[in-house]
């Protein structure tokens, strides 16, 4: 050996050892960089979501006393709802604009426009409908001055949140910088203010021109009904299939085919399940398009492999001695499984099911194909049957829908929707972890 001639101390590091040690160090640093990059991406992703989504939970509103004169709203004076309904939102618009102009006067703010109508861009176009609904619900308000909380237009909302600047509206036909002067004065006077946006969480989607009014509540219900379908179908079917494969099936060609099928299905791209749903459930079986029922069926087929794989793992984890003991005292095979093995495997099965549901909840691609996008989810379902069968959106589909709309105000809503979606997913995953920690048995 060459090193035999080396008479120096072992503590003197020779050039070759130095090189090898340097390589060692470099290798270790590559690993650290990789982990670091992964974590940086995670932090970047999460902080983007939080920073850009939090504003969606705040909404700019105006608190305005609005005079509701009898001569415009109810000429007859008998407060007959049917007659009052004839006054459309166009009848209410001037009242609200006038109320805003009056509020400016009362606070000594100069109106830079010719008349009250010039102030219209500050208000949401939903304002009139909100006031009208309130008046129709309480006809005695007519003839009085009532204080309403109405939404500001999305550009005003964006201005107060820093999304819209005076420069960016220079070429905007809807609003100009003079409006923002008024808004600044109104904010100082306390008439216009940001508040927690509860309607975003519970509300319905709005049309493309009214981002300030859009909420995720209805599509949340759509997702909920879909999850009922997924849970109700995939848990029993998945558990039954796993029990057969794990406890009863003999090793033969038929069982092999089923097993290969299941592992392949787990790797099929989700969009292909969407095609399946479109071709089988909608084109062939004529189930209603955009219905949570169909979405749930498609997601069930997608979730089944996940649930079957995790259920089989937890059935396998139950030691054979349990089965042998039960069989030994005379239980049938079926009784052994249903009375002893299944209850012991249940925590593991539930954990797998929750994780499968969480996957299904965030899945978007198949929903695009069965028509849950492009549909404006503006009505709450009337009941359980309508919840399953009437067209609706789902949370991820709603987020996609918002991301596609042209108005940047909708991007804020999309990020906000993601926060809500992630909160659901996190809750489900934490629940799964707790279940596992609490009930897991080591044999």
């Amino acid at each position: 050996m060459t090193d035999a001639t080396n008479t120096g101390s072992l503590y003197d590091v020779d050039a070759r050892t130095k090189k090898r040690n340097a390589a060692e160090k470099r290798f270790r640093i590559y690993g650290m960089i990789a982990i670091g990059l992964g974590l940086v991406f995670l932090v970047a992703l999460l902080s983007t979501i939080v920073v850009r989504g939090i504003p969606a939970f705040q909404q700019t509103k105006l608190t305005l006393p609005i005079a509701l004169p009898e001569e415009t709203l109810d000429k007859s004076g008998v407060r007959d709802i049917e007659v009052m309904k004839k006054v459309s939102t166009f009848g209410y618009n001037p009242l609200i604009e006038q109320a805003l102009a009056d509020a400016l006067d009362a606070n000594g703010i100069e109106n830079p426009f010719e008349d009250a109508k010039g102030l219209k861009p500050i208000l949401s176009s939903s304002a009139a409908a909100v006031v009208r609904d309130e008046v129709l619900a309480n006809p005695e308000l007519v003839g009085t001055t009532h204080t309403f909380e109405i939404l500001a237009a999305s550009r005003v909302d964006g201005y107060l949140k820093g999304r819209v600047t005076r420069e960016s509206v220079a070429r905007d036909n809807n609003i100009d910088a003079a409006h923002f002067d008024v808004v600044d004065a109104l904010r100082d006077a306390g008439i216009i203010a940001k508040g927690f946006n509860f309607d975003f969480i519970t509300g319905a989607d709005a049309s493309e021109s009214r981002p300030e009014q859009a909420g995720i509540g209805v599509s949340m219900l759509g997702s909920l009904f879909m999850m009922f379908v997924v849970l109700g179908l995939s848990l029993p079917i998945g558990v039954a299939a796993s029990i057969y494969l794990e406890e009863f099936a003999t090793q033969n060609r038929f069982t092999d085919i089923i097993e290969v099928n299941i592992s392949n299905l787990a790797a099929v791209p989700s969009i292909v399940f969407g095609i399946l749903g479109l071709a089988v459930f909608i084109q062939f079986m004529h189930l209603p398009q955009s219905a949570p029922l169909v979405g749930g069926l498609v997601l069930t087929l997608m979730t089944l492999p996940t649930i079957i794989i995790s259920t089989r793992a937890s059935l396998k984890a139950v030691p054979p001695s349990i089965r042998e003991a039960a069989l030994g005292i005379g239980a049938s095979k079926m009784q052994t499984v249903f009375h002893h093995v299944l209850p012991l495997a249940m925590p593991g099965i539930l954990t797998g099911t929750i994780i499968g549901l969480a996957q299904a909840l965030g899945e978007t691609a198949p929903l695009l194909l069965i028509g849950m996008v492009g549909y404006i989810a503006s009505n709450y379902p009337d009941g359980v049957a309508s919840g399953f069968l009437d067209p609706n959106s789902a949370m991820p589909a709603q987020i996609y829908e918002w991301a596609k709309r042209a108005d940047p105000a909708y991007y804020e809503r999309a990020w906000g929707g993601i926060i809500i979606l992630l909160v659901f997913l996190m809750t489900m995953n934490i629940l799964a972890v707790i279940l596992r920690r609490r009930f897991e048995r080591r044999w």
């Binding site: 290798f27 990789a34 299939a241 969009i271 079926m334 691609a365």
Partner: protein, 487 residues
């Protein structure tokens, strides 16, 4: 009688069967211990035979009857009303809408059941409009006649269904009830029934695959009847237009898919692999217990989130660097949606996928091999590169192939981040599109499903299905074939 009421009746019979069957068994012997099975099994046996055949029949009937009736009514429609199959299906949906509208009108009391035969085709639209059933056009004489026929046949079918299902339920009930005695092997019967149920559940996996293959296959065949297959597979232009004269070549889409997947793998494989090596070989258990779950959070985030991240954050960021007037001043990038945007974000998504699969594989390499290498004087990194990696290689190649299959099938990131223009270009900062993105764009909206522009999506889906399946099978094959068996 509506299927729901029918189902309720069968259910009532089932419950009654359970109670009565149990009583009959208990009453047939002087001591319960003399029964062959536990008393509940006798009840379940009767319930099962009353319920399962009847409900199965009901389900099949509900699905099949509309198909049969529609097929029969289709024969009534004269050839003059339609030219193509697409138009025929439009006429048929009109017929069905008129028929169900008439049902609604009768239910609301606008029409008396006797009026139906004497209806005038010209007034039907207004009548139905009055009960909230909107029709697109006036109803022709033939359509009305067909609708009336449809209704009549359906009604007859419903009656027959009610009678047959009830007869089957009662027959099953009586057969099991009268056969109940103390010596009946009720448990064995019930357990056979349950076993059949379990097998059926397991078969759903096969049915799903079959459904996927058949729905893709039939529509693909239909597409190739309308559009030549060689132009689809070898065409280099993708320009669908619903007005006709589309060019539907898959090559630009395949190229976009491949390019984006390559970039994604170029990001995910080195990072994922090194992360896995560090976590399994170097990291202390404390670092590992924190870093591993955090990386796996990336895998739990829905793809729509990554899509939005690509569209609104990464895209503008890249334009700020590589775009016109960007930091580098190179002007390679025209817009935020590009191959690079989608590829980078997809790479981030795949990091945990690669890292956790590789982690498992590296951990499976026996410690004795490492110890042997250390004993020969190798440093840790030399051991990893020359001993652990070669041993883990088949598994890692398998993991990369699985990641590639995920990248090819990924939809939301490319729909939002890659752009919509199908082009063959080498510039990674150009917008390109993929197979999955085009499936979405061809099948959403109010497209006519019989046109080649919509049907092409099924051929794209077929291509996607075959490619991802091949990758998965290949990955499995490599892992099985080259895996070293250490024990």
């Amino acid at each position: 009688m509506s299927p729901l009421i029918l189902l309720a009746i069968v259910l009532a019979l089932t419950v009654a069967g359970y109670v009565m069957g149990r009583q009959r068994a208990v009453g047939s012997v002087d001591d319960v211990r003399k029964l062959h099975s536990l008393p509940n099994f006798y009840g379940m046996n009767v319930a099962m035979l009353a319920f399962v055949p009847a409900v199965l029949l009901l389900a099949i009937w509900v699905i099949v009857q509309p198909l049969v009736v529609a097929g029969q009514v289709r024969g009534d429609i004269p050839d003059t009303l339609y030219e193509t199959r697409g138009e025929l299906s439009l006429v048929m949906s009109d017929v069905q809408r008129v028929a169900s509208g008439l049902d609604t009108a009768i239910a609301q009391g606008v029409l008396a059941p006797g009026d139906i035969e004497g209806l005038d085709a010209t007034t039907v639209r207004d009548t139905l409009g009055g009960v909230g059933v909107a029709l697109g056009s006036d109803v022709s004489e033939e359509v009305l006649a067909a609708a009336l026929d449809y209704r009549a046949t359906s009604n007859t079918g419903d009656w027959v269904r009610t009678v047959v299902v009830l007869v089957v339920a009662v027959a099953g009930f009586l057969y099991a009830y009268l056969g109940t005695s103390g010596t009946l092997r009720a448990r064995n019967r019930v357990e056979t029934g349950i076993l059949i149920l379990l097998i059926t559940a397991a078969l759903i996996a096969i049915l799903t695959t079959l459904g996927i293959v058949l729905s893709l296959l039939f529509n693909t065949i239909e597409f190739f009847g309308l559009y030549p297959a060689d132009e689809f597979f070898f065409g280099t232009t993708w320009s669908p237009s619903f007005g006709g004269g589309s060019q539907l070549g898959i090559l630009p889409l395949l190229w976009g898919t491949l390019y984006i997947s390559l970039i994604a793998l170029a990001v995910a494989v080195p990072i994922g692999l090194f992360a896995a090596i560090y976590l399994s070989e170097y990291a202390s258990s404390k670092v590992r217990s924190i870093a591993k779950p955090m990386l796996e959070v990336l895998a739990g985030i829905p793809t729509i989130v990554y899509g939005l991240f690509a569209l609104l954050t990464v895209g503008p960021l890249l334009v700020g660097i590589f775009g016109d007037g960007g930091i580098l001043g190179v002007g390679w990038m025209q817009g935020g949606t590009a191959v690079m945007t989608a590829g980078l974000v997809m790479g981030i998504m795949l990091i945990p996928f690669v890292s956790s699969l590789s982690d498992d594989i590296i951990n499976a390499v026996p410690q004795a091999m490492r110890d042997g290498s250390y004993g020969l004087g190798a440093t840790q990194s030399e051991t990893i590169r020359q001993v652990v990696m070669p041993a883990a290689l088949p598994g890692i190649v398998g993991a990369i192939l699985l990641a590639a299959s995920r990248a090819i099938g990924e939809t939301m990131i490319v729909v939002l981040g890659a752009g919509a223009a199908a082009r063959l270009s080498l510039n990674p900062f150009d917008a390109m599109t993929t197979v999955t993105a085009k499936i979405v764009s061809q099948l959403t909206g109010d497209a006519d499903f019989a046109s080649p522009e919509a049907l092409v999506a099924f051929s794209l889906g077929m291509t996607l299905f075959v490619v991802t399946l091949a990758l998965n099978v290949l990955a499995l094959y490599i892992v099985r074939k080259y895996r070293e068996q250490y024990e």
